[in-house]
């Protein structure tokens, strides 16, 4: 039996690359233009309930730990105090604060370790970066071996603003 050869040429469909390349370049240009290199940001929750003084809970809660941040005239740090204790004004002051808070939270005889609250009372003109350092020192620390965050105090609040006289 003779098989007839088909005269129809093989219809190989060639995909049109030009439109796809157009679209791909459009996408590429869009992503290149919208790219904005931003460093990773995190945040600290602060506990600022309205009418915070009027607590009706019958449970006895410990008074908040007072952290006082004193400023120089130019807004730099003049001193850190915790419950009236001087912790210095150098770069290690916040490390000392962190160690003090850690001692309080870690004490086994402290029944209120989970309910501890810190109130940060800063001078009006103090640069905000020092408040962040204080909030961070109270909130916890990073374990040097594992790099994990070890939480100390969850309830951190800012005191009322100390408006300058006049």
């Amino acid at each position: 039996m003779k098989i007839r050869e088909s005269r129809v040429a093989a219809t190989k469909i060639e995909a049109q690359m030009a439109p796809m390349i157009d679209v791909v370049f459009q996408l590429l240009i869009f992503f290149m233009l919208t790219l904005k290199i931003i460093p990773v940001e995190g945040d600290f929750n602060i506990n600022m309930p309205i009418g915070q003084q009027a607590t009706e809970s019958p449970d006895i809660t410990p008074p908040p730990i007072k952290v006082r941040l004193i400023a120089n005239e130019d807004g730099s740090l003049a001193g850190v105090q915790m419950n009236q204790r001087q912790l210095g004004n150098d770069s290690l002051a916040f490390d000392r604060l962190n160690a003090e808070i850690g001692n309080l939270v870690g004490r086994r005889d402290n029944p209120f370790a989970d309910e501890l609250e810190v109130e940060i009372d800063a001078d009006y003109n103090l640069h905000y970066r020092f408040v962040i350092s204080a909030v961070s020192a109270c909130a916890g620390c990073v374990a040097p071996e594992s790099g994990r965050v070890v939480r100390c105090v969850d309830l951190v609040k800012l005191g009322p603003p100390r408006r300058p006289a006049g």
Binding site: D43, N45, Y124
Partner: protein, 158 residues
């Protein structure tokens, strides 16, 4: 006259490697582009801290407030007043109260009565902002009815 048939001499370049690279580039830019932090203002020089880690679960109801100074190209302050930046407009911090009340109305329209109470006010303040102004801003927000606050900082990687 007879013409010799010649094969077409048009050189067709191989597009495959180029498409591969272009797709790689697209994938890279897609991964790097962060659409969530579009509310961040570049004029604000945030303080940095090791403990500032991004939240594990992304928040839904957030109002970001950018507080900073007008700076020149070198980053020097040209005006000592701290402003709240919103796009091209800037408002002195102490005059931001009415705007916060508007935000409360918008939140209530979006999420129903009391919806603003679940909204977190994220304060992105410049490292040199006087703390008193941040406290005043929180107070204004409390007066407008907001209850939840967070302070943003850059993550410091050591």
């Amino acid at each position: 006259m007879r013409y010799k048939k010649h094969e077409s001499s048009v050189i067709e370049p191989d597009m495959t490697p180029m498409i591969d690279i272009v797709f790689q580039l697209i994938a890279f830019f897609m991964m790097v582009t962060n659409f969530e932090q579009t509310q961040a203002d570049e004029r604000v020089k945030l303080p940095s801290d090791q403990l500032a880690r991004p939240p594990v679960v992304s928040r839904e109801k957030v109002l970001v407030i950018n507080v900073g100074f007008v700076r020149d190209k070198e980053g020097e302050k040209t005006d000592p007043t701290a402003y709240v930046f919103e796009g091209d407009s800037k408002t002195p911090v102490l005059e931001y109260g009415p705007r916060l009340k508007e935000e409360k109305r918008v939140a209530e329209a979006l999420y129903g009565p009391g919806g603003h109470k679940d909204m977190i006010i994220e304060i992105r303040a410049d490292a040199e902002t006087p703390t008193g102004l941040v406290q005043e801003l929180i107070k204004l927000a409390q007066e407008a009815g907001f209850e939840k606050f967070s302070l943003r900082a850059k993550q410091l990687i050591r």
